[in-house]
């Protein structure tokens, strides 16, 4: 047996086979969740030698599959991340049918998950750029389902992904055979520029992020948080692959300082822009920008131990996105799209207390509030940042301050006395919704209070990037 067949081709085939079942929502959800959880468990518990003993039989897995001279490799070092991606897919599929999203969501989410794994598995890994483009194309029916006009955000998303893909591919071509050349070589400098710009476009690094809030307003929050969360997780690892593999890229003068500065600028911009928002759908775009900033900052600080902080933030970030997406999707569907903006949000806490609390809770957690999930990772990053310059703390302060201002504004509008007319015609949140929200909030509080229970497992994801680990 071969791991790429198991973790890429099998879910891809299941996803394609589920397409005709799109009109049978319960069956689709059940199959996707069961398949994802089985694959996650298999990835998590597979030994390092890729040999499994089961029911008296011995299954030996090979980690490489060759396709027309190219390889797909899923080794033991990739399995924690693979398991996490399938867990995320399950988390987003479980309550998916309670929202009015595209009927293709379940099948496509499994296909997209397998393609994201293929992005990390393909060799030469520059081919991943084309797979990312295919993922963008497959995401279109989810981001813009029938019955609504395609907005400018969606079109810009397509444009930016295509431009990013072409730059990454071209850089690969320029690099062929010169991986070990000195950093000062003109070829290397050109290739570096292309890689940096290509990744910046693909990851929506500031100032190339404008499509993100736009797309947030046009798409369903449940789909939007899923797609952005997945892409952020993988693209950060993709950036690490580049940095780990090419010594000249690491050796470019000021490379890591630039990454740290870019990260802090993104945190500042995300927080400051969020502070002025009046539409919750757009706010997530800025939260996402700030979170990408934290990830880029952690990569910039990788040689001082930043990768551990990046690993610690993976789970809290995804859970924060889940909680925000779930609460906002409920709110949006209750108010038929009207309840997600000021001033319609006024008094929402009185009508839907748990949804309102979840919105605030997810933002507090993502901002790094003590005792909540993101705090352990962010605290370490805050302490590590001054090692690259005290001035970076100004950006931090702006970002965190902006987010706090927005949270206070949100709390204020949620507890305002509502207009009686709008108050009367909206039903309360369901028991199932409350249970899910409370469970997720409890989990996030547990992670923040006892981070050592789960979070250290995530540090295994980055152990393969040996060139980026701090020197002893």
């Amino acid at each position: 047996m071969i791991t790429p067949v198991l973790f890429i081709l099998f879910p891809l085939a299941v996803g394609v086979a589920l397409m005709p079942l799109a009109r049978k929502p319960k069956a689709s959800v059940a199959i996707v969740c069961v398949a994802s959880m089985l694959l996650a468990a298999l990835a998590l518990f597979m030994p390092d030698d890729l040999v499994i003993q089961f029911a008296g039989r011995r299954f030996v897995f090979s980690e490489t599959l060759s396709v027309l001279g190219r390889q797909l490799t899923v080794g033991p070092e990739d399995l924690t991340l693979v398991a996490w991606l399938f867990v995320l897919n399950t988390l987003w599929n479980l309550p998916s049918r309670s929202f009015k999203i595209s009927m293709w969501f379940n099948a496509l989410s499994l296909i997209l998950t397998s393609l994201w794994i293929a992005v990390l598995a393909v060799e030469p890994f520059l081919y991943a750029a084309l797979i990312i483009e295919i993922i963008a194309l497959l995401s279109v029916p989810l981001l813009s389902p029938r019955g609504a006009r395609a907005g400018p955000g969606l079109l810009r998303y397509l444009i930016f992904e295509t431009l990013g893909m072409s730059m990454i591919l071209l850089s690969g071509l320029m690099l062929s055979g010169i991986e070990t050349a000195p950093s000062a070589s003109p070829l290397i400098l050109r290739a570096s520029m292309l890689i940096v710009f290509g990744l910046a476009i693909a990851m929506a690094i500031f100032p190339l992020h404008m499509w993100i809030p736009m797309l947030g307003k046009e798409s369903h929050p449940w789909v939007y948080t899923f797609l952005l969360g997945m892409s952020q997780t993988i693209l950060v690892v993709f950036l690490l692959v580049f940095l780990d593999r090419y010594a000249w890229l690491r050796g470019l003068p000021g490379m890591f300082q630039s990454l740290s500065l870019t990260g802090v600028i993104m945190i500042a911009v995300g927080g400051v822009f969020a502070a002025f928002q009046k539409d919750l759908r757009r706010v997530f775009g800025y939260v996402f920008l700030a979170e990408t900033g934290y990830a880029v900052l952690a990569v910039g600080l990788s040689q001082k131990g930043g990768l551990n902080d990046l690993a610690l933030l993976m789970m809290p970030r995804a859970l924060g996105y889940w909680l925000w997406g779930y609460a906002l999707s409920n709110l949006q569907e209750k108010g038929q799209g009207n309840l997600v903006e000021w001033p319609a949000l006024a008094g929402e806490y009185l009508r839907n207390p748990w949804i309102s609390a979840a919105l605030v809770f997810s933002l507090l957690s993502l901002s790094g509030t003590p005792l909540l999930a993101s705090f352990p990772g962010k605290r370490l990053l805050w302490f590590l940042t001054p090692t690259q310059g005290l001035s970076l703390l100004v950006g931090f302060a702006m970002g965190v301050g902006g987010m706090v201002v927005f949270i206070l504004r949100l709390i204020r509008v949620l507890i305002q006395v509502p207009d009686e007319e709008t108050y009367a015609d909206k039903g309360p949140e369901s028991v199932g919704t409350r249970v899910l929200l409370i469970a997720m909030m409890a989990l996030m509080a547990l992670l923040g209070t006892f981070p050592f229970l789960v979070l250290p497992y995530f540090t295994q994801i980055f152990s393969q990037f040996t060139q980026l680990l701090p020197l002893p």
């Binding site: 027309l68 009927m103 194309l137 444009i159």
Partner: protein, 199 residues
């Protein structure tokens, strides 16, 4: 194929891209797109076996056909107008496009020497011209059909450039998938307003 004939093909190709940038008549745009793919094919076979190059032509024609049939099914194709009247926007786009083609023609020889020595001058001129006209289209227009045409133009220029430096069967297959995917996404975006959501 002589260099002068190749240059004729190059400028015909760029003229088609320019027409797509300037005119807003869907039938003309589809014809220009198909012809553009034909010209790209003729340039492609200057450095690649025609039996391999024809894949790109077939993909290009399928892409055009998908978009054309989508427009036909919506009944939005208008008969050709033989008397051209240019609006101010069209004149602006036309001048910007011509300026870019001149710039590409002037700068390509130097760029070839410095960055792309393996690519012939006509192929480099055509690919950079298509990339820049595609980008111009993407920057100037927000209508979905023209954004898709802009992306296809950009991609055909990029593929021509990439193909002149490296050939890989997997890459060709992925490029074909991306092109067809873009056409299908374009068709989906164009028609989805006409159909109700099914769930």
């Amino acid at each position: 194929m002589s260099t002068s004939l190749q240059m004729v093909i190059v400028y015909t190709c760029l003229l088609m891209a320019l027409i797509n940038l300037v005119r807003r008549q869907w039938l003309v745009n589809m014809g220009a797109l198909a012809l553009q793919y034909g010209m790209v094919f003729l340039l492609l076979i200057t450095f690649r076996n025609p039996s391999l190059g024809i894949i790109k032509l077939l993909v290009g024609l399928m892409v055009t056909l998908v978009l054309y049939l989508t427009l036909v099914s919506l009944g939005t194709l208008q008969p050709l107008q033989y008397i051209f009247r240019f609006s101010l926007g069209e004149i602006f786009r036309g001048l910007a496009g011509i300026f870019m083609i001149i710039a590409v023609t002037l700068f390509t020889p130097g760029l070839r020497t410095e960055v792309f020595p393996l690519t012939s001058l006509p192929v480099l001129t055509a690919s950079l011209g298509l990339v820049i006209l595609g980008l111009l289209q993407l920057g100037m227009i927000t209508e979905p059909l023209y954004v898709i045409i802009g992306l296809l133009t950009f991609l055909s220029g990029f593929e021509l450039l990439y193909g002149s430096m490296e050939f890989s069967t997997v890459l060709e297959a992925l490029f074909a998938a991306v092109n067809l995917g873009l056409a299908l996404v374009g068709a989906y975006i164009i028609v989805k307003d006409e159909e109700p959501e099914t769930r």
